[in-house]
């Protein structure tokens, strides 16, 4: 067999798997998004209605826009908070930083936990009767005792953000520690000798050289924040009301709970659009040359 033929044959299994698990569902979802697509109505999966699902989402469904808003705010907050905190931690944990190894090992723990588990444990911790936060905040600041965190729309949202930030800090910290290690030490030392204060060394020398890694971190976290589902599902199930209903949860709700597969496929495809941009940006940073 010629090498040329062989090489295609060897990648074929991988191509088949990717096609079956990623490409085909995307295509099928695109098709479904143009149908009536009710799980409880036989034949509706082949009943085409043009762009009606999309126009419905855009013009007739405030819950869709609510989910867009929740997802956007959620993404903005989690990306911002996680990146800032991870950067701070990385500075402390990097070689020459003030904390080291043991802390670094412990740090990976939250990341080893599944998001669903994080959701469940946070739900228990915020339980108004026997939760850790109730006891802790209640002791430190009595007015917060017996607050039903997850029953209040704003507080529930804060809890979801907190759980996500907690779960993601370790991984991003490790990535940023790697990034910091690649900043040449003598540029930092040169700046110190040149007369820069600690903050200016960071701002003028470390941060600019960390730029590409930081960009990857932000893009990656944005992708994951946009599609958050399991934590929300376990922690609040989108509630109270729709206060924490992210797009992923909204899609699940419409598709699986109400059986509106066609409609949820169209929303899912609307979510693909920002993802494509982010993935493109990510690939550009990760695979860039030189």
């Amino acid at each position: 067999m010629r090498d040329n033929t062989l090489k295609y044959l060897l990648v074929l299994p991988a191509v088949v798997v990717v096609f079956a698990t990623a490409i085909w569902p995307l295509i099928e979802a695109a098709r479904l998004s143009f149908t009536v697509g009710r799980l409880n109505r036989p034949g509706s999966l082949d009943q085409y209605i043009g762009w009606e699902n999309y126009t419905w989402a855009f013009f007739e469904e405030p819950a869709f826009w609510n989910s867009v808003y929740v997802t956007a705010l959620y993404t903005f907050l989690t990306v911002g908070l996680t990146t800032l905190l991870a950067l701070g931690l990385a500075m402390l944990l990097a070689p020459g930083g003030k904390l080291r190894s043991a802390a670094q090992t412990l740090l990976i723990l939250p990341f080893a936990m599944s998001p669903a588990l994080i959701g469940v444990s946070f739900r228990f911790m915020f339980n108004p009767e026997f939760g850790l936060f109730d006891a802790f905040f209640g002791a430190v600041f009595p007015p917060l005792a017996d607050v039903s965190w997850l029953a209040n729309p704003n507080l529930a949202f804060a809890v979801v953000v907190m759980a996500d930030v907690w779960g993601w800090i370790p991984f991003l910290t490790l990535v940023l520690i790697g990034g910091l290690a690649s900043v040449p030490r003598d540029t930092v030392e040169a700046a110190q000798v040149d007369g820069a204060s600690g903050w200016r060394v960071f701002r003028d020398v470390t941060l600019p050289q960390l730029g590409p890694v930081l960009a990857v971190v932000i893009i990656l976290k944005s992708i994951f924040s946009l599609k958050t589902f399991d934590q929300v599902f376990m922690l609040t199930n989108g509630g109270p009301g729709t206060a924490t209903q992210t797009l992923s949860h909204y899609i699940y709700f419409n598709g699986m709970k109400y059986g509106q597969i066609g409609y949820s496929a169209s929303v899912a495809w609307l979510m693909v659009i920002p993802m494509i941009f982010l993935t493109y940006a990510y690939a550009k940073f990760v695979f860039r040359k030189g």
Binding site: D186, E189, V193, D194, R200, D204, Q209
Partner: protein, 352 residues
């Protein structure tokens, strides 16, 4: 403008001693070279002066101020790094301007001062490029310009020429010397290259295992080495060291050859040091001793004769027109004004 005083300076990492209780006074405007093989503590000493490394013990004084607890930025030093330490995301102009900016120099004065520093190192046409677009020699100049753009109390240079190719190193060495004489600022210069040390220094401190072996002018260390280490480290080719003893005022090699008269009391063991340049090569029978040539090398400016001397090999420098071949026998005589005797036990010079 300031002198530097190191008092009982020590640096340890666990059991490893980097710098061992060293004291050193560097005069105002002096160019002092710290010379030694890698791991001898010379760079550590310099980094402690810069404030990049914290001493385990001892004091560092710059001018009349003890700077042990000062941050690098408060010590008023400028440093040139071995890998230059240029800021890759800034233009050359911004690199040179950075020390001025962070020290709050009036913005209106910056372009003029950067221009002047760039002129001193002949960099003016590269100011809007990034470091990546420059050659090694040019980057080296940027690092220099960044150091001289303000007038610090002290210059610190950490092997600044070691990343350049041999030819460029010679050019830059001369430029560095010219610049240092022009600027008249106290300078500490770290290198493992003895030629750099010899050519640039007012005084050289030779270090080994964290201890200064000898401190002196280039003349001192070349002509009056204090011990075997200094004798072997300075000079190219390295000083010949011949094992033997002193009997009846004569140095006798271990092979039994009565070689040369020395003014030293008799002793059972001694090492005779003699530089290649201090041996004269004659025709057979006309020198103090006849030896067989092991290898003959013509370097262009002179010839090097490696000769078999009993069980030892010794290098002598001959005239550049001399032509001999392997196996030929020549006569060698020693210049008795330039012989050094060392104690094999202590490795110190005898009679110093």
């Amino acid at each position: 403008m300031a002198e530097i005083k190191l008092k009982n300076l020590t640096k340890r990492w666990g059991d490893f001693v980097g710098v061992d209780d060293q004291s050193l006074d560097i005069a105002d405007k002096e160019f002092l070279v710290l010379l030694g093989p890698s791991g001898c503590g010379k760079t550590t000493t310099m980094r402690m002066i810069a404030g990049l490394e914290e001493p385990t013990g001892g004091e560092i004084w710059i001018g009349d101020r003890m700077v042990n607890d000062d941050l690098p930025k408060d010590r008023d030093v400028a440093m040139v790094f071995q890998n230059y330490g240029l800021y890759p995301h800034m233009t050359i102009f911004e690199n040179i301007a950075y020390p001025l900016r962070v020290r709050g120099v009036d913005k209106a004065d910056i372009p003029e001062r950067v221009q002047k520093a760039a002129e001193q190192v002949e960099l003016t046409q590269f100011l809007d490029r990034k470091p990546k677009a420059l050659s090694g020699g040019q980057r080296q100049r940027v690092a220099l310009a960044r150091a001289i753009v303000r007038t610090p109390k002290v210059f610190l240079m950490d092997e600044p020429l070691s990343n350049l190719d041999a030819k460029l190193r010679v050019t830059m060495r001369a430029e560095l010397k010219h610049l240092s004489r022009e600027l008249q600022i106290t300078t500490v210069y770290v290198t493992h290259d003895q030629i750099e040390a010899m050519t640039l220094a007012d005084r050289v401190a030779i270090m080994k295992h964290g201890v200064i072996q000898q401190l002196g002018t280039p003349d001192d260390i070349y002509n009056d080495p204090a011990n075997l280490f200094v004798a072997g480290f300075i000079g190219s080719p390295a000083m010949n060291l011949i094992n033997g003893s002193v009997q009846d005022g004569m140095f006798v090699t271990t092979g039994g050859t009565r070689l040369v008269k020395v003014n030293t009391p008799d002793r059972a063991a001694a090492i005779l040091g003699v530089r290649a340049d201090d041996m004269q090569v004659h025709e057979q029978g006309q020198g103090d001793i006849d030896v067989t040539i092991y290898a003959f090398e013509n370097t262009g400016e002179s010839t090097l004769l490696t000769v078999q001397w009993g069980k030892q090999r010794v290098i002598a420098r001959g005239d550049r027109h001399l032509r001999k071949d392997q196996g030929d026998v020549v006569g060698i005589s020693l210049n008795s004004d330039h012989l050094y005797l060392f104690d094999p036990e202590t490795e110190n010079r005898i009679g110093m």
